[in-house]
Amino acid sequence: MNFVDKYKPKSTKDILGQDIGLNQLRLNLKKPVFIYGPPGTGKTATIHALANDMNYEIIELNASDFRNKDEIDSIVGNSIKQKSLFNKGKIILVDELDGISGKEDRGGVQALLVLIQESTFPVIMVANDPWNSRFSQLRMKSKMIDFKKLNYLTIFNILTKICKSENIKISDKDLRELSIKSDGDVRAAINDLEIVSYNNNLEGIGERERETSIFNAIQLILKSNNPKEVLNILDRVNMDLNDCILWLEENIALEYKNKHDLARAYDILSKADVYRGRITKWQHWRFLVYIYDLISAGIAVSKKNKYYGFTKYRKPARILEIWKFNQKNKLKKDISIKIAKKVHTSIKHVKKDFLFYKRFINKDIIKELNLSEEEAEFLKN
């Protein structure tokens, strides 16, 4: 048995460094819970340990099972509605939610929404990156619990315990290095420790390419002054370029309070956008490397100050604002389409001069344009 399985926490007492997450989970078991955080922070382990403590049975669903409602029923079946043979409570655990693909598993998220509504047992969902838009409805209906990266000292303590019980001789210095290198991922640290234990030598342990959340990437770019540190960070974010740019666009202003830094950073972003335009115009994809350099290292070194302390980053608001506005102004658009046809011009042009039209459109013209009652009402306000 490898170390990771052998030292898996049996009870919540064994869980280290996730006190807040664990408590929140305990308090919110009555409703659907959505746990998220980077790999190796103890999300799944905590749930298993908790179920163990409470003597609950876990029904585990892998994301790939979630293609449609029928398939869920075939796995979970009626068990979500009745207690098990031994009268045990149940927890339904949906692990690796990131694995639901947007296109092929269409219906998966819908099926999950039905499940969390119908289930009489707690449903716990787990994902690394919950900010993907396809999870937005799940986010709204669930209690979100954040499992943060573990502090390296916590990992150091865990490793020390394992060394003791396995009788591994390794210097504190090496152990500390392993803990730091693991970057908050306790599973990675334990795996590395196991390899090191064969020959007691740290050499040859490879770095892991880690996928990281957009929050972490933004934080690194906006806080760091070291271009090399941030250069490839956006490659590790599971998000396309346009979205990355929107996130940066939203958050630069929240972090860079010095106006010189602010102006320089937006200038870099604007240049990156120019190359983005050139890619679409000429299909010259080579420019992509420059865009990534500009928006990672470029934005990082455009600041001459250091910004300490916590900044609350936000999701990009612009796209949502535009969408909300369009919903609200659908009538204006419908009216503009009718006017544009009548006066032989573009809808865009009519919208620009909408206030003129609005002023002089009277009963006769409403009739001429064939506006609906609702549209006519809209013009009155």
Binding site: I245, E249, A253, L254, K259, H260, L262, A263, A265, Y266, D267, L269, S270, K271, D273, V274, R276, G277, R278, T280, K281, R318, E321, I322, F325, N329, I339, A340, K342, V343, H344, T345, S346, I347, K348, H349, K351, K352, D353, F354, L355, F356, Y357, R359, F360, I361, N362, K363, D364, I365, E368
Partner: protein, 315 residues
């Protein structure tokens, strides 16, 4: 019964068209021979491009003009799909009148390059059954192969006398009282865009039949809120986040494009309460950003970069 004036006063025959005499004469001759080439009309908004081609349609097809023309506005449907489907379907069948049909592509300069490429083939293939008339503000945005297939006509902005004639004509018909000062104001504000003149006049007349220049200015400022100034003032005083929020709101609510905004920004720079040297720097930045906007992908990011310069060079 009240109608929309810019349609009510649209000319129906060649002799009612005001201005653009040399072009009108040439087109008229071609229409008489019932032999129209593909055409490209280039010129600013509201100088009679659409009016001319609509007159052509009336003359060629009489009452059945509507069946024989397809009018598309490229800025609303600028994708390649429209060219591939709608335009092709229209162009491939012959007209019952024996005269080729006309496909009018308004604001053709906002068609994507790919759509223009697709159009080029269609124009050639179906030129027996359909002639194209492309209307554009700038010919530089029309790809060369298309320009070479068209007879190009460059429309000039209407001169003062022509605008006067138009305004007096409306005033007589609608019983408006309008003085010279008001006419001057209209000429200046509209920048020669006749549709805009009709719209402003009709809005004013919904308030008073006596059109003064004060009324005109009030009407125009009402339609173009001075929000841009406030946005810049926010930026200059250092509140970037607030100014960008307001900017987004303005662009959405007034339906303004990035270019519309930057035009107003450039005008407002000189009114700001900052050092003159910095105003000059901002003008330069404004030019740079306007250039980048043409090349770039996201206008709003470009405007944010500009706003951050106002923060930098502010108080």
């Amino acid at each position: 019964m009240e109608k929309i004036w810019c349609e009510k006063y649209r000319p129906l025959v060649f002799k009612d068209i005001i201005g653009q005499k040399p072009i009108v004469d040439k087109i008229k001759a071609m229409v008489e021979k019932k032999n129209l080439p593909h055409q490209l009309y280039v010129g600013p908004a509201g100088v009679g491009k659409t009016s001319l081609i609509l007159v052509v349609s009336h003359e060629l097809y009489g009452d059945s003009w509507q069946e024989n023309i397809l009018e598309l506005n490229a800025s609303d449907t600028r994708g390649i799909d429209v060219i591939r489907n709608e335009v092709k379907n229209f162009a491939r069948t012959k007209s019952l009148t024996g005269v080729p049909k006309i496909c009018i592509l308004d604001e053709a300069d906002s068609l994507t390059k790919e759509a223009q490429q697709a159009l080029r083939r269609t124009m050639e293939k179906f030129s027996n059954s359909c002639r194209f008339c492309l209307l554009a503000n700038y010919s530089s945005k029309i790809i060369e192969p298309i320009q070479s297939r068209c007879a190009v006509f460059r429309f000039k902005p209407l001169v003062k006398e022509e605008i006067n004639k138009i305004i007096t004509n409306v005033a007589d018909n609608e019983n408006l009282k309008i003085g010279n000062k008001a006419i001057d104001a209209l000429f200046e504000i509209s920048e020669g865009d006749v549709r805009k003149i009709y719209n402003i006049l009709q809005s004013c007349s919904s308030i008073s039949k006596e059109i003064t220049n004060e009324l005109i200015y009030e009407m125009v400022s009402f339609a173009n809120p001075k929000e841009v100034k406030k946005i810049l003032e926010n930026a200059v005083s250092g509140d970037f986040i607030k100014s960008r929020e307001k900017l987004l709101k303005l662009m959405l609510e007034a339906g303004l494009s990035g270019t519309d905004i930057i035009k107003q920004v450039q005008r407002e720079i000189w009114e700001l309460d900052i050092e003159n040297d910095n105003k000059l720097k901002l003008i330069e930045k404004c030019a740079e950003i306007e250039f980048r906007m043409v090349e770039g992908a996201d206008e709003f990011i470009q405007l944010e970069a500009l706003l951050s310069q106002f923060v930098l060079l502010g108080k």
